[in-house]
C-alpha cells in the first residue's frame, strides 16, 4: 500500500483550476496562431494551381507547380488536424473565410488581377465576420471560466 502511495503523483490529480484554465487558454491561442499559418499556406495553393493552369499540360513547369500544390495541401492538412484538436469546427471553419482576402491579395500581387470595389467591400465584410467568430469564442471561454468559479 505504501509503495502504491509513493508512486502516485498527487500534483497531476489536484492541479489547481486556475493553472488548468490558463493552460487551456494558451493551447487555444496557439491553435488560433497555427490556424492562421495554415490558412496562409493554404492560400498559396491558389497561386500554385493558377500557375499550373498556365503551363502546358504535363510539362516540367506543370509538374513542378502541381507538386508544390500537393505539398501545400499536405502541409495544410497536417496543420488543420492539429487545429481541430483544440478549436470547435464551427470556429475553425469560420476563420477559413480569410482565404477570400488572401485570394484578392495574391491575385493582385502575382497576377495583376483587377480589384473591383465590390471585392474590397466583400473581403472587409468577410473579415468582420471572422472577428465575430473569434470574439464569440473568447466570450464563450470566459463564460465557461466564470461557471467554474
Amino acid at each position: 500500500m505504501g509503495i502504491v502511495m509513493q508512486n502516485m503523483n498527487f500534483d497531476d490529480h489536484w492541479e489547481p483550476m486556475e493553472k488548468k484554465d490558463s493552460g487551456k487558454k494558451n493551447s487555444k491561442v496557439r491553435a488560433f496562431f497555427l490556424l492562421q499559418i495554415g490558412l496562409l499556406i493554404f492560400s498559396f495553393g491558389g497561386i500554385c494551381s493558377k500557375m499550373a493552369g498556365k503551363q502546358e499540360f504535363l510539362s516540367l513547369g506543370f509538374i513542378l507547380f502541381m507538386g508544390l500544390l500537393v505539398a501545400v495541401l499536405g502541409t495544410y492538412a497536417l496543420i488543420w488536424q492539429q487545429v481541430l484538436k483544440e478549436l470547435p469546427l464551427i470556429v475553425a471553419y469560420g476563420c477559413k473565410g480569410i482565404i477570400v482576402f488572401y485570394g484578392l491579395l495574391w491575385g493582385a500581387l502575382f497576377f495583376g488581377e483587377q480589384i473591383k470595389p465590390n471585392m474590397i467591400i466583400g473581403a472587409v465584410i468577410v473579415l468582420i465576420g471572422i472577428i465575430f467568430f473569434v470574439k464569440g469564442d473568447a466570450e464563450e471561454e470566459s463564460r465557461e471560466e466564470e461557471s467554474h468559479e
Partner: protein, 115 residues
C-alpha cells in the same frame, strides 16, 4: 431546368460532401490516438480526405458549366452546412456571435463574387 441551375446543384452537392468530410476530421481529432501517425492514418481521416478529393473532382466537373464567380458564391453554402452539421453531429454550440459571423461571411462572399 436550366443547365447552369442543374450544375449549380451539383456544385452545392460537392460543397456538402466537403462539409461532411470536415465533420469526420473533427470526430477523429476529438479522439486521443496512441501516436502522431495514427492521428492522420485512421479510417475517419482517410475517408474524410477521400470525400474531400471527391468533392474537388465534382467541383471541377460542375465548373465546366457554372461560371467561376457563381462557383465562389456557392462555396458560401459551406458556412451554412458546416455549422448545421456541427450542431447536429458534434453538439457544438451556435452562439449569437458565431451566427452573425456566418451571416457576414456569406454576405461578404456574395458581395465579392457578384460584381
Amino acid at each position: 431546368m436550366s443547365e447552369v441551375f442543374l450544375y449549380s446543384l451539383i456544385y452545392v452537392g460537392s460543397v456538402f460532401i466537403g462539409s461532411v468530410s470536415q465533420i469526420l476530421l473533427k470526430k477523429s481529432a476529438a479522439v486521443k490516438h496512441d501516436n502522431a501517425i495514427l492521428e492522420y492514418l485512421n479510417p475517419k481521416v482517410i475517408i474524410a480526405y477521400g470525400m474531400f478529393f471527391m468533392s474537388m473532382l465534382i467541383t471541377m466537373y460542375a465548373l465546366k458549366v457554372v461560371p467561376l464567380s457563381l462557383g465562389n458564391l456557392l462555396e458560401g453554402f459551406g458556412y451554412i452546412f458546416v455549422p448545421v452539421l456541427g450542431i447536429i453531429f458534434l453538439k457544438e454550440k451556435m452562439t449569437k456571435n458565431r451566427l452573425i459571423g456566418s451571416a457576414l461571411i456569406i454576405i461578404g462572399i456574395a458581395v465579392y463574387a457578384v460584381g
